[in-house]
C-alpha cells in the first residue's frame, strides 16, 4: 500500500476540523430562517421548496441560538477550508496523487468492471487489485474533491452580497442567490452523507490501522488495506 503523503494527511485532518465547524455553525445559521427557495429572492414560507427542521443546541456552534456567533465561526473557518483545499489540490497535482490515485481509467468504467467492484463491496471485500484505491473509492473521492467541496465554496460565495457585486457571474451559474443558498444546503448534507459512509467503511475494515496511517502515512507493509 502506497504511503499517504504528508500534505494529504495534514489536509485531511484540517479539512475534517473545518467541515465539522462549518457544518455545525451552518446548522445554527439555518435556524435563523429555516426555509429554502429557488431563484433570486424568497422570504415567504409558502414560496419555500423545503421547510428545514430546527436543529437542536447539541448539534450547533455555538451551543445556543446565536446567528452572529455562528457566522463568526462559519466565515472564519471558510478561509481555512478554502485555502487548505487549494494547497492540497496543488500538492496533489504536483505529487501525482490526483493522477495516479484518484483519476479513473477508461477500462474501469466498463459496466462489468463496475459491477464486479459493487459486488466486492457488498461482500465487504475491499481488496485493491491494482493501485491505491478501487473504482468506487476513486469515484467517491473524485466527486467530493472535484464537485462537492468546490460547490460548497462557490455557492457560499454567491450568498454573500459583497461577492455578488464583484463576481455577479456566480449568480448566473447558480440561478440566483436563493438557489445558491439551497445548493449550499444540499451539498452540506451530501458531504455529511459522505462523512457517515467514509467513517462506516473505515470502521468495518481495519479501523485502527487506517486511522493510524492517516497520521503516520503508513506503507510499512505491502498487504492490501
Amino acid at each position: 500500500m502506497k504511503r499517504n503523503a504528508l500534505s494529504t494527511r495534514l489536509w485531511h485532518w484540517t479539512n475534517l476540523l473545518c467541515l465539522a465547524i462549518m457544518f455545525m455553525s451552518g446548522l445554527n445559521i439555518s435556524n435563523a430562517h429555516p426555509n429554502l427557495y429557488w431563484g433570486d429572492w424568497g422570504f415567504m414560507p409558502r414560496d419555500a421548496w423545503l421547510h428545514v427542521a430546527r436543529f437542536p443546541p447539541w448539534a450547533t456552534i455555538p451551543n445556543y441560538y446565536s446567528l452572529g456567533g455562528a457566522r463568526d465561526w462559519h466565515v472564519l473557518f471558510a478561509w481555512v477550508f478554502a485555502l487548505s483545499l487549494l494547497a492540497f489540490m496543488i500538492a496533489a497535482l504536483v505529487n501525482g496523487h490526483l493522477r495516479s490515485d484518484i483519476a479513473t481509467h477508461r477500462k474501469e468504467w466498463r459496466p462489468a468492471a463496475i459491477w464486479d467492484d459493487v459486488k466486492a463491496h457488498l461482500r465487504f471485500d475491499f481488496t485493491h487489485h491494482v493501485g491505491k484505491y478501487n473504482f468506487l473509492q476513486k469515484l467517491t473521492y473524485g466527486l467530493v474533491l472535484g464537485v462537492l467541496l468546490p460547490l460548497m465554496i462557490f455557492s457560499g460565495m454567491a450568498i454573500s452580497p459583497g461577492v455578488d457585486a464583484a463576481w455577479s457571474f456566480l449568480l448566473d451559474v447558480f440561478g440566483g442567490r436563493q438557489s445558491a443558498r439551497s445548493i449550499h444546503f444540499i451539498c452540506a448534507w451530501a458531504l455529511f452523507a459522505f462523512f457517515v459512509l467514509h467513517v462506516a467503511l473505515v470502521l468495518v475494515n481495519k479501523p485502527i490501522r487506517h486511522v493510524r496511517e492517516m497520521f503516520t502515512g503508513g506503507g510499512e507493509s505491502d498487504e492490501a488495506a
Binding site: G42, I61, P62, L67, G69, R71, L76, G162, A166, W167
Partner: protein
C-alpha cells in the same frame, strides 16, 4: 448508551468547547481579522468599483418584507405619516464644513437614482425592490466632509429593545454610486414597515446596514463614542461591522 445519545454527547462536547473558545479575546481578534480580509478581498475581486446586481421590473417581489423595527411608534411619527412628513428633517452633521438640515422636498429636489436591487437579510432570505432617492455622495458633496472624516453614521428614529437604531459605513460605501437615501419603494413613498420616510440603501451589504426612519447623517473619525462603539445596533450585539458576507 444508545448511539443517538453518544452522537448527541459528542456534539454537545464540541459545541460547548467552541462556545467557550468563542468568548475569548483571541477568537474575537481572529474574527475581526477575517472581517477585514473579506472587505479587502471583495474590493480587490471586483476591481475598483464593483456594482451590486440590478434587476428588471419583472423581478420585483410582490410584497417587500419589513423586518426588525416596522414602526417608530410615536404620535409625531403617525402625524408625519398622514401629512407626507412635511416636518421631517434629515440633518447632515459631524465632521463637515457645511452642516445641512434637509426637508423632504429638498431631498426630492436632488438628482435622483432609481435602482432595482436585491435586499439580503442576515437571516438568509432575500426580496427585490425598486428604490429611488438621491445618491449619498451628492449630499456629502454639498456638506463638504472634513479631511478627518472616515466613517458615516446613520441615525434613526426607531428603537429596538429600548435602544436607538443606528448604522455606519466607510467612505468607499458612502460614495458608491448605488448608495442612496431612498424615499420611494416601487415608485411609492416608503411604507411604514420599510422605513418611512427615508432609509439607506447600501447595496453591497446585508439588510441590517439599510438603516430605516433616517433622521441624521453624521461624519465621524471613529465610532468609539457611539452606542457600544462597534458601529451599529446589531454590531453592538455581536454581528460583524462589514456586512458584505
Amino acid at each position: 448508551m444508545k448511539r443517538r445519545n453518544f452522537i448527541a454527547g459528542l456534539g454537545a462536547l464540541v459545541t460547548a468547547g467552541c462556545s467557550k473558545i468563542g468568548e475569548t479575546k483571541l477568537f474575537s481578534d481572529l474574527v475581526d481579522g477575517a472581517d477585514r480580509l473579506h472587505r479587502g478581498a471583495h474590493r480587490v475581486m471586483g476591481g475598483r468599483r464593483p456594482m451590486a446586481p440590478e434587476f428588471t421590473i419583472a423581478d420585483i417581489s410582490p410584497v417587500f418584507r419589513g423586518n426588525g423595527s416596522t414602526d417608530v411608534g410615536t404620535q409625531e411619527f403617525y402625524a408625519g405619516f398622514t401629512n407626507g412628513f412635511k416636518d421631517w428633517r434629515l440633518e447632515v452633521r459631524g465632521l463637515v464644513n457645511n452642516p445641512l438640515t434637509l426637508t423632504m422636498d429638498q431631498i426630492r429636489a436632488f438628482p435622483q437614482r432609481t435602482q432595482i436591487t436585491r435586499h439580503d437579510c442576515v437571516e438568509g432570505w432575500s426580496a427585490i425592490g425598486q428604490w429611488t432617492g438621491p445618491q449619498l455622495s451628492r449630499i456629502l458633496e454639498l456638506a463638504q466632509p472634513k479631511a478627518s472624516a472616515r466613517y458615516v453614521v446613520f441615525r434613526c428614529a426607531d428603537t429596538l429593545s429600548g435602544a436607538f437604531y443606528y448604522e455606519s459605513c466607510d467612505l468607499d460605501d458612502a460614495n458608491h454610486p448605488q448608495t442612496i437615501v431612498a424615499h420611494l419603494l416601487n415608485g411609492q413613498p416608503l411604507p411604514m414597515k420599510n422605513g418611512a420616510p427615508l432609509r439607506m440603501r447600501i447595496e453591497r451589504q446585508l439588510g441590517y446596514k439599510q438603516a430605516k426612519y433616517l433622521t441624521a447623517i453624521e461624519l465621524v473619525e471613529n465610532f468609539d463614542h457611539i452606542g457600544d462603539g462597534e458601529g451599529g445596533y446589531w454590531e453592538d450585539r455581536g454581528y460583524q461591522w462589514y456586512a458584505g458576507v
